[in-house]
């Protein structure tokens, strides 16, 4: 299978944007329960801006990630803006300037992005945030690639792990983000950021699978 090219990466962003738009009301409803009812609007605004900027996208993955990160930082605001923004901004240098990314580099870049999220937001696994979806997803990705699976298969595994991580946020009493203000009352609700993060991983799986199929 070919490396991940910028076409695929763009498709990833488009699929993610479409998926956020589709789940906008759900994300907002989840945020209304334990936050301030804006996560759907925030992510949708940001990903629309990202997609609007794609026409002018420069050729290499690092530039694409940087532009995506900067657009998210500029247009989202709230907690998710700096976090998703940082994720993409940190992916850029991890590509080493390659024109297309082999599976390991792609995984390394994602890992660097997650580390950026953790550095920015200081959340550990189990605190009811997007980290709870991203961490098991990247662990699953590494494990699958390590055991020789294709990137498409590995991303499918990552997406399943992200979904599981997302589902796992429900019983947690939040310690980070707005949901932490609710104390015990935050338990029993699925985290909106973990939900959008699972969509992000699922979008990567979809985009790469399509590249494989094409």
């Amino acid at each position: 299978m070919a490396d991940v090219d910028t076409d695929t990466l763009q498709r990833w962003l488009r699929v993610f944007a479409a998926s956020v738009a589709e789940h906008k009301d759900e994300l907002t409803a989840l945020d209304a329960a334990i936050g301030d009812a804006d996560h759907g609007a925030n992510m949708d605004r940001g990903m629309q801006a990202v997609v609007d900027g794609l026409a002018a996208t420069p050729a290499d993955p690092a530039a694409l990630f940087k532009q995506t990160g900067m657009t998210l930082v500029k247009s989202v605001g709230g907690a998710s803006g700096p976090l998703y923004g940082t994720l993409f901004l940190r992916m850029a240098p991890a590509t080493g300037g390659a024109a297309s990314l082999d599976p390991e580099t792609f995984a390394k870049a994602l890992r660097a992005g997650l580390e950026g999220v953790v550095a920015r937001g200081k959340a550990e696994v189990g605190e009811k945030t997007m980290v709870d979806a991203l961490t098991p997803a990247l662990d699953a990705l590494d494990a699958a690639l390590g055991s020789g699976q294709s990137l498409a298969d590995a991303l499918r595994a990552a997406s399943a792990a992200a979904d599981e991580g997302r589902d796992g946020t429900t019983p947690i009493v939040a310690r980070k983000g707005r949901a932490s203000y609710l104390g015990e009352r935050s338990a029993g609700h699925q985290d909106p950021g973990a939900t959008s993060a699972a969509l992000l991983v699922a979008a990567a799986a979809t985009a790469v699978a399509e590249q494989g199929a094409a």
Partner: protein, 333 residues
């Protein structure tokens, strides 16, 4: 949803047009959604920057003007503004003595202001310091969580530090003062009803007719606990007791008491609440020396109130009384 607007997506932008038209003493940078003093930057004065999500009016733009803030950044409704706005605002109000960021403690606001400070450090040689305001006793004060929310204390912090900045004090002196006022403040809020975020179009939470939320923030989020509807007398206790349990408010020059309406609660009720609160303070031997009653830090159309108490020392009292000219707070000029 019934609101006075055209398209929810343009609400903040169009409202800022109105602010610009209504206030010739202010300037609005529409691209960056910054409201700032027409005379900014004031040479030799530390610039004071705050801001946050929209929907809290008069906070934040209502506190821009001589004697208070130099600029604020406006985010989407209940959404922190973004670093570019803050960096741009920092540049606009840098009169050569540095810029102090007064940050309301919410994860989003803190991260965005952090990134702005990093950007400003990279792009300019403006000295920037930040003070995070976190006065809300409904939330446990812990290093392992997002910590306490910034709510009512901001009024005292922004007013007092604003007056001190006009005196030409240095950036670190002002940062220290901001921390002192914040440390001297505690707040607790409650909601009778939810609010409706325009982009969502329906109430954030459902609250039955016989229940209220105790320990809310200012973003229409549910509170710490839900209790049966109670009398003003009992509600005052539910708000004041945890505040007094958290800090000593005796001594000094007495306290500043702020009874904030969340948006849809009439001043008639807020004054009645103040009557109950003042009685509780009396009993605790705490002496109010200044009061503010009304909607100053709102959550759109939420009904309810937030009580904020700040222990004043003589310097804080003097600076509170100093002239201020903003659309939200004004006296002496």
């Amino acid at each position: 949803m019934k609101k006075l607007l055209n398209d929810p997506a343009n609400l903040v932008a169009e409202s800022l047009r109105g602010v610009e038209r209504a206030h010739p003493e202010l300037r609005v940078d529409h691209e960056n959604r910054i409201v700032y003093r027409a005379d900014a930057p004031v040479s030799g004065k530390v610039g004071l920057l705050s801001g946050g999500g929209s929907g809290h009016e008069p906070a934040h733009a209502g506190f821009v003007g001589p004697g208070m803030l130099d600029a604020v950044c406006a985010g989407e409704v209940f959404t922190s503004p973004v670093p570019d706005q803050m960096t741009e605002a920092t540049k606009k109000i840098d009169g050569g003595a540095g810029v102090l960021h007064l940050v309301w403690n919410y994860t989003g606001d803190v991260m965005n202001f952090d990134m702005a400070a990093e950007l400003a450090a990279a792009e300019t040689d403006t000295e920037v310091q930040a003070v995070v305001m976190n006065d809300d006793v409904a939330v446990e004060d812990s290093l392992f969580t997002a910590g306490r929310r910034g709510t009512g204390a901001a009024i005292a912090v922004e007013k007092i530090v604003g007056a001190a900045a006009e005196q030409g004090r240095s950036l670190s002196e002002l940062a220290d003062l901001a921390r002192r006022v914040n440390d001297s403040s505690r707040s607790m809020g409650m909601a009778l009803t939810s609010c409706t975020v325009p982009a969502k179009g329906s109430p954030t939470f459902d609250l039955p007719d016989d229940e209220i939320e105790i320990g809310i923030g200012i973003h229409g989020e549910p509170g710490r606990r839900r209790v049966p509807l109670a009398s003003a007398h009992d509600i005052a206790e539910m708000l004041v007791d945890p505040i007094l349990a958290d800090r000593d408010f005796t001594g000094g020059e007495g306290v500043f008491v702020f009874v904030n309406g969340m948006g849809a609660t009439p001043n008639l009720e807020l004054y009645l609440m103040y009557n109950e609160i003042a009685a509780l303070l009396d009993k605790a031997g705490i002496v109010p020396v200044r009061t503010l009653v009304g909607p100053y830090v709102t959550s759109l159309d939420m009904a309810g109130c937030l009580v904020s108490i700040t222990r004043f020392d003589d310097e804080m009292l003097r600076l509170w009384d100093a002239p201020v000219a903003t659309s939200g707070l004004r006296w002496g000029m």
